[in-house]
Symmetry: C2
Subunit: 264 residues, 2 copies
């Protein structure tokens, strides 16, 4: 099967233009699953909760989700994309999960990073695996990577692929996701943006690009550039993620020592 | 404080010569903690359980542990070292923990790798943190790295440093230990051997060296060569491992979403 992503450079607050640019970058690429970055349509650095609220949208009624639903129908691709979500007075840093048949579900970022806490509430939905055309896709967002329990929970729930919309400013995540794949024997599609924003107190945030697809064996199947917008598709063998046995004696799930772990 | 390691190339079955060679490599290096590889005194590839039993020793009565106890007294260093342990009829792939005042404790490898299962029983002792001169050291052995719960348990139990005797034949561990340090904000001292063994069914095992000390910020403070024996010492600031907060909003322990993780 084919999976892919679009790595964009959104203009802050220009949702419509950003959606158009995604579609331009996407072009005619064909894949069963396309992942877009965290907050791909709005940009990242809100100045105030008021501003975040103005740009956030309800899911699935909002125009960004509706546009993604129409693209999924049109292209035959499932889409997972990061969206600023409003739910009454609460805002969430969310991802929508959409199949060619329509809206499937939402994930709300569980580990909200740094200044995002000014706007976004902590995610209050379970870590979930979504069935998309026979493929099981777990979803987490950006900083969720730092907590091994996130990917572990998704893998134990049966994820073949972890879809991971991101806006990375620190350098470690792309290589750390190799560890996440090795320890869980899953694919991971980490999708970042490029460019920079300079909207709050003169604090410039630069995003590191390097969107990537990593295999259950820890191989980087594709890694994008640090600076350029692009869309890419990779062929993957989903069966690899369903074998948790790495030799005749060691199964990465059955070999867990629940009798020895103390994780609370 | 100073921590260090000896990366050796043991001759299979020649315990006395291997101990002498460790002492030669160690030389006059001074450190509060010295870590040695997994099975550093015996070599790795036993031909039969009988052969493993011949080379295994009781802890702490055995001559290898006694020698390490005498070195710790003599040098003022705590020592953590991998030993083939016999306990009645059972063999364990173990590590001894020794302070300048004597024997402190034992850890038995929890996740036994591949053909080791022919000889060694699964570890039956808790994942533990040992207090060594005010420093809290958690111990795990080689393949334990692959299971994020191991280092996580040690970190949650208060480890400042993870001492990690290893015999690495696969390429991924050294980089994956950077992730272990980042996710737990601990130091990790992974100590490997070099050279190769060709003892079982003509199967040659080559060990990748690259013993290393990694900081809680994911920096490789020192990484040894792939081929050469050596001893090295690194200065570390232990306070780094005691701050789990990475910015004003995110504490890596307090920020865990135990309400969302499903790990059983």
């Amino acid at each position: 099967m084919k999976v892919g992503f679009v790595q964009n450079n959104p203009k802050f607050g220009e949702t419509e233009a950003n959606l158009e640019q995604i579609k331009t970058l996407w072009g005619n690429l064909s894949a069963e699953l396309i992942v877009l970055p965290e907050l791909f349509a709005t940009g990242y650095q809100f100045n105030s909760k008021h501003e975040a609220k103005e740009l956030a949208e309800p899911i699935p009624e909002g125009p960004t989700t509706q546009k993604l639903i129409s693209w999924a129908k049109e292209t035959g691709s499932s889409i997972i994309a990061g969206i600023a979500e409003c739910d009454g007075e609460n805002l969430f840093n969310s991802a929508v999960i959409i199949s060619p048949n329509g809206y499937i579900g939402t994930y709300r970022k569980a580990h909200v990073f740094d200044t995002e806490n000014r706007f976004f509430s902590q995610g209050n939905l379970p870590l979930q695996v979504f069935e998309l055309g026979g493929i099981r896709v777990g979803v987490m967002i950006c900083f969720d990577w730092r907590f091994p329990e996130t990917a572990r929970t998704l893998a134990l729930k049966g994820a073949d692929i972890i879809a991971h919309p991101s806006n990375l400013v620190l350098p470690h995540c792309p290589d750390a996701m190799i560890t996440r794949c090795l320890e869980n024997r899953v694919f991971a599609i980490t999708v970042d943006r490029v460019g920079s924003e300079n909207r709050v107190d003169g604090e410039e945030l630069s995003f590191i690009g390097k969107s990537q697809v990593v295999s259950p064996e820890g191989d980087i199947l594709y890694r994008a550039s640090e600076k350029e917008e692009e869309a890419s598709v990779v062929e993957i063998d989903i069966d690899l993620s369903r074998k948790k046995k790495i030799n005749s004696k060691n199964d990465l799930f059955e070999g867990r020592r629940l009798d020895l772990y103390e994780l609370n």
